[in-house]
């Protein structure tokens, strides 16, 4: 059997993401101050704080009777009800759509992971109607998912596949600097949005990055 990502790892991912968001909140907010409304870090922190509380209260997700799909769905609902702004529904849609594709099982393998990430991305795209190069979180997520899919197709193990996804997300995030925004608040600035890194692409990169970290460690106890 190929390597599996456990529910415990999914949980560790999101706890780690919550911590990373706390660390980077003012950075994200400053990025948003440059081309948006200076709230992205705060919004994400608010949502991830709520999610952390739920995750910690939940104990072992298996004992809580959750499978991967249910776990992702719970994550989605929590984020939707606590982030607000553009990021809330978008990250919410990511997890909601991922949950739809995710197996009703306690683990996922790399192919399933790629599928559910793709599905999540489709959710973000359907909800937000943004396309690549619109200077949004899509620009980090799309290359990450593509890299993950490719790695999975070529039989890569999880750490390797996630490292590729993480690298692609980072490139995508950096690529937003040169773009003129066509979606979201930054689009109101027109050409003045060029030269600034998109805050949502940055938080999306951190999401992939923490996933890469959490999915590559094995059996580390909570």
């Amino acid at each position: 059997m190929s390597q599996q990502i456990t529910l415990a790892q999914l949980k560790r991912w999101l706890l780690r993401y919550a911590d990373r968001i706390d660390q980077e909140a003012s950075y994200l907010t400053e990025l948003d101050a440059a081309i948006g409304d200076a709230d992205h870090g705060v919004n994400m922190q608010q949502g991830m704080h709520k999610l952390r509380q739920r995750l910690l209260n939940m104990g072992d997700p298996n004992d809580a009777g959750l499978d991967v799909s249910g776990f992702l769905r719970m994550t989605a609902m929590t984020l939707i009800s606590s982030i607000g702004g553009a990021a809330g529904p978008l990250y919410g849609s990511f997890f909601l759509h991922a949950a739809r594709t995710a197996p009703h099982a306690a683990t996922v393998d790399v192919t399933e992971l790629a599928d559910l990430f793709r599905s999540g991305l489709t959710g973000v795209r359907q909800r937000g109607k943004a396309r690549p190069d619109d200077k949004t979180m899509i620009d980090a997520l799309e290359p990450a998912v593509a890299a993950l899919e490719q790695a999975a197709a070529t039989g890569a193990e999880i750490p390797e596949a996630m490292a590729a996804a993480c690298h692609a997300a980072e490139q995508g995030m950096l690529h937003t600097i040169g773009l003129e925004a066509r979606k979201g608040r930054a689009s109101y600035l027109g050409p003045r949005s060029i030269g600034h890194q998109d805050p949502g692409a940055t938080s999306a990169y951190l999401l992939i990055q923490t996933a890469a970290e959490a999915f590559s460690e094995n059996g580390v106890p909570e």
Binding site: N43, S81, I83, Y188, L189, G190, R192
Partner: protein, 337 residues
């Protein structure tokens, strides 16, 4: 805090920056105990006398930091509930749903939101969930900001106040949901706005102004989220600025001699009334010079962007019906007649 520019740090009358929205709502509740009731977690502000039988329910939502919008427009003749999000952050779907549960009467509900990605996405989710629960809901998107060329991408600005007032009056008259929605859409369609920022405001969570303007420059085409404008232009006279705000409005809403309008000048939070009157003065002259009659007017801080200095102009083409709805009695913290 912007320690690199201590002189530019923004001092505020707040406690913990994270408590600003909640404590401000508590103060609002204490300021208007006979009009409002505030619900916390999730946050919404409701008319004290709702739900009202036989009346369409009006619910509006937006980030905090635009006060008096929207919480100040809850009351008789206007909103049944307002959902304040975090600062500059559209409220979440469950705020809308909780408000709906609390105030929805038997005639369905209209959600009013400004056309921002966050507003649209959250309202969209709220509508889906409300419909799943059996509510009859409609929504109107306000997109009056002509600083943005593409109408589909235009931000909601001052027209929001006018939509809420006129749709509120129509609801109070007992008109059905489709009629109230049509009024709201008509007001939104006949309104245009444009704003100018002279000095950045500061979100309490940021602790310093969102941006710095150069000494002789100002920001033309700002929204109400403390962001930079579409263009940076040299500081000029109030009259010239008024022209630069009105012209793109008129390009988009061609007014004929004989047309009657509501003209609104709203301060963005850090500009005194004295200056708003100076802008309104020239705005009035410019409109009358085109043969357009300024039939109704609103000058003051009605939709703000925290403590940004500057103002926004909104023009609404009136019909006799809209005039009647505007004049109808209203009893809210911020509009009362």
């Amino acid at each position: 805090m912007n320690t690199a520019h201590p002189a530019l740090m923004q001092k505020k009358l707040i406690n913990d920056p994270h408590d600003v929205v909640r404590q401000s709502l508590e103060g609002l509740a204490l300021s208007h105990p006979h009009l409002l009731d505030v619900h916390y977690d999730p946050h919404f502000v409701r008319r004290i006398d709702g739900p009202i039988k036989g009346k369409v329910t009006l619910i509006s939502g937006s980030g905090s930091g635009h006060e008096p919008l929207n919480t100040g427009y809850v009351g008789q003749g206007m909103l049944d509930a307002a959902c304040p999000g975090a600062i500059f952050t559209s409220p979440t779907p469950d705020q809308y749903l909780s408000a709906l549960d609390a105030v929805c009467g038997d005639q369905g509900a209209l959600f009013i939101t400004k056309n921002y990605a966050g507003g649209v996405l959250n309202i969209g989710m709220a509508m889906e969930m409300a419909q799943e629960q059996g509510y009859i809901v409609e929504s109107v998107l306000v997109n009056d900001d002509v600083a943005i060329d593409d109408p589909k991408n235009r931000r909601g600005m001052g027209a929001t106040v006018l939509v809420e007032k006129m749709a509120g009056a129509a609801a109070e008259e007992g008109r059905p949901l489709n009629a109230v929605t049509a009024i709201a859409r008509q007001v939104a369609a006949q309104s245009r706005s444009m704003g100018v920022g002279l000095r950045s405001g500061a979100s309490p969570l940021l602790g310093h102004p969102t941006f710095e303007t150069r000494p002789d420059m100002i920001e033309l085409g700002v929204g109400i989220h403390g962001e930079r404008g579409r263009y940076e232009i040299p500081l000029t006279s109030a009259d010239r600025i008024t022209e630069m705000l009105l012209n793109p409005i008129l390009d988009d809403l061609p007014l004929q001699p004989g047309d009657r309008v509501l003209a609104m000048v709203s301060g963005l939070g850090g500009t005194p009334l004295q200056e708003l009157y100076i802008v309104f003065r020239h705005l009035h002259h410019l409109l009358e010079a085109r043969g357009v009659t300024v039939e109704r007017r609103l000058v003051g801080d009605y939709i703000t962007s925290l403590d940004m200095a500057g103002c926004a102009i909104t023009i609404l083409r009136l019909t006799p019906e809209l005039i009647r709805l505007w004049d109808a009695s209203v009893r809210t913290p911020a509009l009362w007649w």
